[in-house]
Amino acid sequence: MKLFRRLRTDPVWKDEFSIDRADEHYVSRRQFTKFLVLTSLGMFVGNMWILARSWFSKEPVYPEKSICRATDIPIGGVRLFRYPTQKDACILIRTEDGNFVAYTQKCTHLSCAVYYAREKNRLECPCHEGYFSIKDGSVLQGPPPRPLPRVVLERRGDELVAVGMRIHESI
């Protein structure tokens, strides 16, 4: 098989079943050079495409969604909710100092649901023992490669409202 077929009147089989031993080897020097050049060109174009996409992509717009009343959750309590869509499970925690934090429940390793371990004050994934910090969602131990995406909360009177997501907040 050749990358570029020579323009000839001979049938294809004569080219593919050539009597010359040199044509037996798939990679001749010239073919290898062509392969290198074309692959590099493909990689370059692919990278340019990714770069262009990241330049022209817009910040995603998140909806505002009321979760619950702040007084509903005791200190150390937890409430599960869905944000930004009905398919995205999130977890809202009222920490020991009375603040509210919320993270997506999907572990960044293999998407198991994380839970709040109150006695250790951290988020734990039961599948592979990946632990996340309650402060900023960063990985404390285990296989997860990235921190948990954080749900941005806003307090409006007594009401807790999710207003956005912060992904890769800290690495």
Partner: protein
Amino acid sequence: MFGYEFYVDPSRCIGCQSCINACAECETHRGTPMIHVDFLDRRNTIATVPFVCMHCEDPTCAKVCPADAIKRTEDGVVQSSLKPRCIACSNCVLACPFGIPKMMTELEQMMKCDMCYDRTSEGKRPMCATVCPSQALAYVPSQQIERSRREKPTNVFFFGNQRVTTKVFMMIPPERDALSVDVVDYMWEENA
């Protein structure tokens, strides 16, 4: 290769069969000679002629091989059949104008002279040319053959209308340019 060419001079052959034995001693095909020494006309003369592969520039044997088993190297040497590919169909045996390929039925493989490729590719002489006492098979530089022989080397053959050029040279009378072979002339049944 390395400035050396292969010359076959049938008029010098004495039928000693040294070439056959030397060929059979080669490690790559031990015990199986790939060279033939044939009697020209057994009834009337003891003249013999050695047959090595002529290594055609447009090898018919390779072109007719349905299994793609016969390959030509970069330096123009047509190799013997590849064992994993040869299907022992004998197409090459029938197609070769010089009658060189021989079917080894016990091996189920065609074997023919490959000009001792293990030797000539690194500058050594073929086994047959090293032992031939009368140098009917000679592997020498072309200047040497011009200097020492009366006959003229040619690598152009005519089989009827087919023109065949080869890598191996045949010594022919000096007044001829090419060797023309009409196969019918040599079919002794016709003449008898």
